[in-house]
Symmetry: C2
């Protein structure tokens, strides 16, 4: 029997009606012969409701007790889904993170999974029980309840699949797979049949909200066959793959964007060793997350340093940077909090030059000014003014021919240099 | 340091404001030097909210999964109280029933506590941490979550106190102790400074809602010093005692009543062996709980048999009894579902005759017809028409002089025969 780990998010279990719909789907797979482990999130909104209760007591509530509190959210859904399965005559047993011994470190609120003792689950599976596991939670070595942080249920599912050597891990979500671009912006955007784990990682961290980044890392580490699909429609979704067939690999897998960016530039910084570490040391001490960093070659003994931060942290980052600027006797601080980041991702670009120029040309044709550029082996990110996001994404989708499924055409179209 | 186990019910932790008030109280005891274990119920209404979710999925939801679901209620309150204690700089750690290893049998929904492994709690207490334990819940030998049934948090508190050999177990509730009668009916009703465990047991099972019967049994078995007091007012409450000082023992400790009664009589039953077992066998097979049973001596080879049931079960019990009546060729079935039961309880009555006659005389004076009588060593219960409850309770309270605190007077007043 194939062993499948399925994960359903908060919106998929947000009402009793939806829980019954998930039960129908699980029951059908069970009847078709699959062995099943189902990982659940809390009902949509429940974690926030619980956090609100805590905030009412103490806005800076203790992390251990916060985990005790919010882990109840998934405990409710696993019980309800198991009941719904029983109602359909499907044998099912629920387990909390502690019961199924998902061992984590003791970093409350963002714990990492260290080990899963899957024996109990295996016994259940042998008896053809559907095992329903609370996502997002575990226990540390002392038995304290821990939680894995936002999106942690994806990680629970992937970790369960790795521990059980499952045939496939299916993440059911509110979209039916990974797209070449956001379909709300690009109507021609195409669902990818498959995508490499590296591309998925880049897309996740670049703002595509389909899968939580840590779960993709985890899947990559243990080579878990991972599929993203819709809990509301049928369809095969998108499979995350580990072996790249060069011949069939498209140049660009997809386009991601993130609107919540802001950029800050410190001008006329003395070009000396230690300056960058002074700046980013102080920024990081203030717990401001820095994304892209760009430094151009120096001119006249001074240099300009630009970096991007999340828009919400812009005011704080700017005031820190102005203090630093005074200390370093830099010329000035300038910034812009209406920035968007657009990224193209594809393992194919490793071996093909010309991708960057196609990207820049597409922007030039549309009259979009590129404010920042940052690249890695398999992605190119550019910063553009927020108002150009839709236009830029559509132009890039067209320039790389992502609406077309055959790859040869794309190679012809883009191999211009 | 005295070790105190405190238990707060659902209305005491029903809002964040009330949770903060409980934290203030606990913090004061902790500062005064007490070592503390605090047992909590779920927020008032929460258990019903969760059961409603279950009912929405399946009105006859699986018992194991129902326990997984409703045990989240106490997990929420222990986290919130621990946060509130931290906020007051009192070190505190919450534990679920599973974490503190409250081992129960596997009867989901009404499990019995078998054992508590108190080592972890003792370590916390040595470090001067307040230990906050989820009431009402435990785990069976396989690690499945169980719950103890309605009022189970009282039992958790008493069991923790027994396991830790605590100096006192304090049940905080919405009344400030055990009264000689319901103060809503008898304004002169007096709070008892103390009451014997046997009296408390009778009063609990006779309808006084102060303490759950099982927790009193448990306290009696392990001789746990148990005190009932108000979580909203100060005061010493009522202490449940185990050693009876004969000299100071009043004749009657208190008066209990229960309105939800109904009586059924089967007339003209052949007076043969096996008849009673035929009747009550069938009643019990239908899961109808029978309370009092009265059978008079036979006359002309037939007898009348009367018993009481909860009012809600009256129609069902009556239709079963009419079937039986036909089978046995009995004369007729008569019944009345507007019955109330009034009981006087006191260990003192063991050694004093005349209590019953004082009781019956008081009823006669008020013109109240006694429909049923049932006695045990330390209680006398009578059935009267529902509409007489207040009058009967007040008359008995006066007849036994319960508003007076000195016992000699009562002895004089009642030693009439």
């Amino acid at each position: 029997m194939p062993l499948i780990v399925e994960k359903y998010g908060g919106s998929s279990v947000g009402t009793s009606e939806r829980i019954r719909a998930v039960a129908d789907r699980v029951a059908a797979s069970h009847r078709a012969g699959d062995d099943l482990v189902v990982v659940l999130s809390a009902m949509a909104g429940e974690t926030n409701r619980l956090l609100e209760l805590a905030r009412d007591i103490d806005p800076e509530a203790d992390a251990r007790e916060t985990d005790v509190l919010i882990s109840t959210g998934e405990q409710v859904t696993i019980a309800l889904l198991s009941m719904a399965l029983h109602k359909l005559d499907v044998p099912a047993r629920s387990y909390t993170g502690g019961q199924v011994r998902i061992l984590t470190d003791n970093v409350h609120g963002k714990a990492r999974i260290l080990d899963i003792d899957a024996d109990m689950v295996r016994t259940d599976i042998e008896q053809r029980n559907v095992v329903v596991v609370a996502g997002f939670q575990g226990v540390d070595r002392e038995g304290n309840i821990t939680t894995l942080g936002r999106g942690g249920s994806d990680t629970t599912a992937v970790a369960m699949a790795a521990a059980l050597k499952a045939d496939e891990c299916r993440i059911y979500t509110d979209v039916d797979g990974v797209y070449t671009a956001d379909p709300r912006i690009v109507p021609e955007a195409r669902r990818l049949e498959q995508i490499t784990v590296e591309e998925m990682l880049e897309l996740s961290s670049l703002g595509a909200k389909v899968l939580e980044t840590r779960s993709v890392e985890f899947a990559g580490k243990y080579k878990v066959p991972l599929r993203v699909l819709s809990s509301f429609e049928s369809g095969k979704g998108t499979l995350i793959t580990y072996e790249v067939n060069k011949m069939e690999q498209p140049l660009i897998a997809g386009i991601a964007y993130n609107r919540d960016e802001a950029k800050l530039t410190i001008r006329g910084v003395p070009d000396q060793p230690g300056v960058a570490s002074t700046i980013f040391g102080q920024i990081s001490d203030a717990h401001v997350n820095v994304d892209m960093i760009i430094q151009n070659v120096a001119q006249d003994g001074t240099t300009d340093l630009t970096f991007t931060v999340n828009r919400s942290e812009y005011p704080r980052a700017r005031s820190i940077l102005e203090k630093i600027s005074a200390e370093l006797k830099a010329r000035e601080v300038v910034g812009d909090d209406q920035l968007a980041k657009i990224s193209i991702v594809g393992v194919g670009m490793r071996s093909h030059a010309g991708i960057a120029s196609t990207m820049f040309e597409a922007m030039a044709t549309e009259g979009i000014n590129i404010e920042l550029i940052s690249t890695s082996e398999i992605k190119i990110s550019i910063g553009v003014a927020d108002r150009y996001v839709e236009l830029a994404v559509r132009a890039l989708h067209k320039a790389f021919g992502l609406e077309v499924e055959t790859h040869e055409e794309i190679l012809d179209a883009t191999a211009v240099d």
